[in-house]
Symmetry: C2
Subunit: 332 residues, 2 copies
């Protein structure tokens, strides 16, 4: 059983997941570049993944057979396990919980040569809609307090497989980073009685020096305190705390801006490795005036070195204004 | 002038340092592997660095000439600059400060083939003593609130040069990560009236399952909530909040445990890339009962992927108990 452990000083949770079956020596080559010839996520290789949880496939076709356009499967090497008791406990000054949770993989396309930004708009919308549907499904499990959806693209960003996919991890605790964001937003709300993200959006639209792209429902911008070159956030214009409340019109709009942004980054940075994470309010909590869901995307260009590890702060050699101007000018 | 900018939501500071002279396309090959043949840190290449700030060299020898065993020089591409006014200011909801500070490089040895752990014990002591001396020197500049000392070894850990060196960055703000640690320690002290790090040390010595090595003044251990495989902390047994108060006997003892730890890691992980950071109290503050300085060392084996970026929490596939047992058994 994996274990969630809390650092007693700063309250950071880590997952100690030793059942992934690695020994110390296995870390010397961490990221196995998988052979292009065999993708466990390709059609006809459905037996290479655990049985599917969800799929978009022709009516009447059997699960775990080809024909699908999108599949959701449990991670073959899950960091957390669905079955078991939470069993919160202490060991002297230390706190831990059993590693209960979900770890799923969203296979975004049957075509192993394409990334998310290369798909047809309707297929991108499907991926974003499935994020919502998996969140709503996992919300029913009251043990789960948070659902994090993220994508690692490219070995430099931590991906172990090339075939386009995103991941979902549902945890029985709310991660520290999420709590910090909510607390920051609460402090601002306490003074201003306004959502800080709404205020960021209105200042950015007025200043118009960090906006990368906008459409009916969304805005993509280089954040004022970007951690790394070309960090970009996508925020809904209208206030909403929970990703899973997104409606169909907004899903189309989000797919369009996501596709445009990924294509701009591909041109600007020659198909960079990247991570994105959906920042959303805790799944079991009510809609809130304070928090505003959004997506943070970070191309993986600089490495995180000692200074950043230790300080929690970052050296970024490209100003967000420069990055935004550069991305804005690329015509897709 | 570089700029320090604060994220308005979570309070994270970043350094936007565009004068390092890179364009977007320059990031495609981030870490230039330097040619082994020319090290700007080698003897006779003293002209390739800015003039030295400090050196250990034979009496009577001229600065910036060969003969030294250790040199401290300003970083050629500093993230922060020494000259100028702090000039705190706002821009709507955003806060920023001029990027005032110091960025120095400690060249640990004239021998480009050796790492810190390969040096003679007295030479390791010299490096650790110079850390202290630079802290004491920078403390005199009241603009500087924090001095962070860290080492990046190997390209995977963010090092751009192979020749053994560590770095120092002094900042006009206290980094968020440091504040979090101090706040966590304060919360514990408020309840227990004891230092949390002292309590960690005493529990670890009693449990004896995560201790890697110990000597007269120091203990090396795998932390209970280790973020990544073989993360190791070195803590002084005796309570002290500020690294720069270390005495000569303790410096020898710290050099001994640091050398042993680096050698064990080199055997266990075949000379891994690693980062270490000295966690110490803010330089301008008085000695405190609450905080306890220590060194956190992280071999760079797994990559930080999307999940970790977004959540502030980590998946570690090697338990700290397993890592400690493995390192403990290696005889140096």
């Amino acid at each position: 059983m994996p274990e969630l452990r809390k650092d007693p000083v700063i309250g950071r949770w880590v997952i100690i997941s030793t059942e992934r079956g690695r020994r110390p020596s296995d870390f010397l080559d961490v990221i196995e570049e998988n052979k292009d010839s065999i993708s466990p996520f390709s059609p006809n290789n459905e037996h290479m993944t655990p049985p599917e949880i969800y799929a978009i496939r022709p009516p009447g076709s059997a699960p775990n057979t080809p024909g699908w356009t999108l599949r959701v499967v449990p991670n073959k090497y899950p960091a957390l396990k669905v079955k078991g008791q939470l069993d919160r406990r202490g060991e002297g000054i230390y706190d831990m919980i059993n590693g209960i949770g979900a770890h799923e993989v969203i296979i975004e396309t049957p075509d192993k040569a394409k990334d998310l930004g290369d798909l047809e708009p309707a297929a991108v919308t499907d991926v974003l809609r499935v994020f919502k549907e998996r969140m709503l499904a996992l919300k029913k499990d009251a043990r789960l307090k948070y659902v994090m959806i993220f994508k690692n693209k490219g070995p430099a960003a931590g991906a172990t497989l090339k075939h386009a996919h995103s991941q979902l991890i549902a945890t029985p605790i709310i991660p520290k980073r999420v709590l910090e964001e909510i607390e920051g937003a609460q402090k601002y709300f306490a003074i201003k009685e306004r959502c800080i993200f709404c205020d960021i959006i209105s200042q950015e639209l007025k200043d118009n020096i960090r906006v990368v792209h906008e459409n009916k429902h969304f805005i993509a911008l280089s954040p004022f305190a970007a951690r790394s070159p070309f960090e970009t956030w996508i925020l809904p214009r209208g206030h909403a705390s929970h990703y899973e409340t997104i409606d169909d019109a907004s899903l189309d709009s989000l797919a369009a801006i996501m596709k445009t942004l990924l294509q701009k980054l591909n041109v600007a940075l020659e198909k960079p490795a990247y991570n994105f994470v959906i920042h959303t309010a805790p799944i079991q909590e009510e809609a809130s005036e304070v928090y505003h869901w959004h997506i943070e995307l970070l191309p993986k260009l600089t490495r995180i070195a000692g200074f950043e590890w230790g300080s929690g702060f970052y050296i970024n050699p490209t100003s967000p204004e420069e990055a935004a101007r550069y991305l804005k000018e690329i015509v897709i």
